[in-house]
């Protein structure tokens, strides 16, 4: 095979690769665009023209939602609960992971195994007993009633990840720190945590995404519409405006926007953390 035909083959292959990725990309993006465009139509136009651009761009669906207090309230609630969940999860997990990674004590592996068992127990399954516990603690209609269980269920994954990272930090460093008069907490706070920043970012982003998407727990815990989060709001809105498909889609698009915006900002933490982890291994 001469050089020219080889480049031709490579070009064809490159082209087909591009075509393939382009097709997959289209399939991924079309549902999102469909939602976005549909929000600019009226429901009656939508049934006749689900596809193309709106004949007349109707902005009311979006502007009315953006002008309503409840939508912003839900955004705020979702954000607040997600951030608080991430803080609690990461703080509590980091302390535990530090102990699991760097201390030897009786029963360490038993306790650690106990935590990993939590991975096998999905939220939906525990929801009824969990609800009874929250009721007993007076945590209904209280953001803590969502934050604490989410943090508790997030512990296993977070501890496993952080323990792995903490172990990669050389023991010499700890010895040096202790010789310098650092307490265990001092070492943890001033040296270990700053060094594990990429890992902390990854687990925080994970916790935020999980919390943001949670549906049944906030649904059961919050009766007050003032506390509803975005997924609960979407479900309620869907029932309330069942006759107005375009408006529901507008709501769905607006509800997606913060998650996508956050993702585009935190992409490096979410994906970069992974990549870094894998290459070092």
């Amino acid at each position: 095979m001469n050089a020219r035909s080889r480049t031709a083959v490579a070009a064809v292959r490159g082209l087909s690769t591009h075509a393939l990725i382009w097709i997959v990309g289209t399939v991924v993006i079309v549902p999102l665009l469909y939602g976005l465009l549909s929000g600019f139509k009226t429901t009656s136009e939508l049934s006749g023209n689900p596809f193309g651009p709106p004949g007349e761009w109707v902005t009311e669906n979006y502007t009315e939602l953006l002008a309503s207090g409840s939508f912003w309230r839900q955004i705020f609630n979702s954000t607040f609960i997600a951030v608080a969940t991430a803080l609690v999860t990461v703080a509590v997990s980091a302390l535990a992971a530090y102990v699991f990674a760097r201390f030897a004590f009786r029963g360490r592996e038993v306790v650690f195994t106990l935590f990993t068992i939590g991975l096998m127990f999905p939220f939906a399954v525990a929801i009824l007993p969990l609800f009874l516990m929250l009721r007993a603690f007076d945590l209904l209609d209280n953001p803590l009633g969502v934050i604490l269980p989410q943090a508790a269920f997030g512990l296993p994954m977070t501890i496993i990840i952080l323990r792995g990272f903490f172990r990669t930090i050389p023991g010499e460093l700890e010895e040096a720190a202790i010789i310098d008069g650092c307490t265990a907490f001092g070492f943890f706070w001033r040296i270990l945590l700053p060094m594990a920043r990429p890992a902390l970012a990854t687990v925080s982003v994970l916790a935020i995404v999980t919390s943001w998407n949670n549906f049944f727990l906030p649904l059961l815990v919050f009766t007050e519409p003032d506390w509803w989060t975005i997924p609960v709001g979407v479900q309620q809105f869907k029932g309330q405006y069942a006759q107005d498909t375009a408006r529901i889609l507008a709501y769905v698009v607006l509800a997606m926007a913060p998650a996508l915006a956050f993702y585009s900002v935190a992409e490096r933490q979410l994906i970069g953390g992974l990549t870094a982890g894998a290459t070092k291994g």
Partner: protein
Amino acid sequence: MALSALKKDPSGNAVAPPARGRRAPRGTAARRRSFRHGATVAAFLSPALLLFALLVLVPILYALYTSLFKWGGFGAPETFVGLDNFTALLQDEVFLGDLWRGFVLIALSVGIQLPFALSMAVLLNQRLRGRAFYRLLFFAPYVLSEVITGVLFTMIFSPDSGLADHVLDLVGLGDLGITWFASPATVLPTIFLVMTWKYFGFHMILYLAGLQSIPRDVLEAAAIDGAGAWQRFRHVTLPLLGPTIRISVFLSVIGAIQLFDLVWVITAGGPVHASETMAITMFQFGFKRYQVGYASAISVVMFLISFVFALLYQRYVLRRDLEGAVTSMRGRR
């Protein structure tokens, strides 16, 4: 995400064996230190233990307890029935169907979704224009909530008026009259389609991370030895990607066993149970039929299946990759 971190464990461990210089407590100074050491462990561990025990373990144990009762959820469980709920489960056609459907979803995920994610990862691992954009795009559905995804796709696959039907019409397949979520025959594949849309990017990202950790010189050496692209992939890339693939399969299986939100929003398990999963059956009994004892039995079985699977998988498949969890208790002390 966990995965890369999990994978790193062994090497991390090699660099820093835990508790170096903390053994051999001799003399009062050492004893005082070991006391302080114990206090530190207790102080650092207690918030996690408390949270976990109260909000995860207690509900698990409570579910286990109530699974032994015939209980409608009112007042305290009183009618003890032993294992009756479990024996009834084994004769419950819907539940047995759940197991079968779970198996189908796992097979589809492992057989189609993951290979698809892997091939996308391989493609995007090349030097390619817009690579960063595609990576961003393919992962994006993963961050959307299941409820939102469900609502969106309910409308896309709406019979007669949805986007999917118009696309079929456009490519001349409109006469097939596919009813997507509306027929027992097509509902599960359609749900799988949505699952793939939402989750393949996640697995792709895992594979990409794994691929990038494969040293270029190994592949180049293989190329010099005359290995073709497929051979290089088959004999170099794939084995080196082993740990990532094993973890991705693990997550995919656990996810399929516990599938709930997405199906709940789209079909609630219908039509005629054709898309029902264990978690949905559990929810139907617990929240619609007031048969909480029976529902608890389903949760316990789900937990056991996930647990046994995890145990076996870790024991036989993940052994080399994953250190620390369930199976490696021996030899760590």
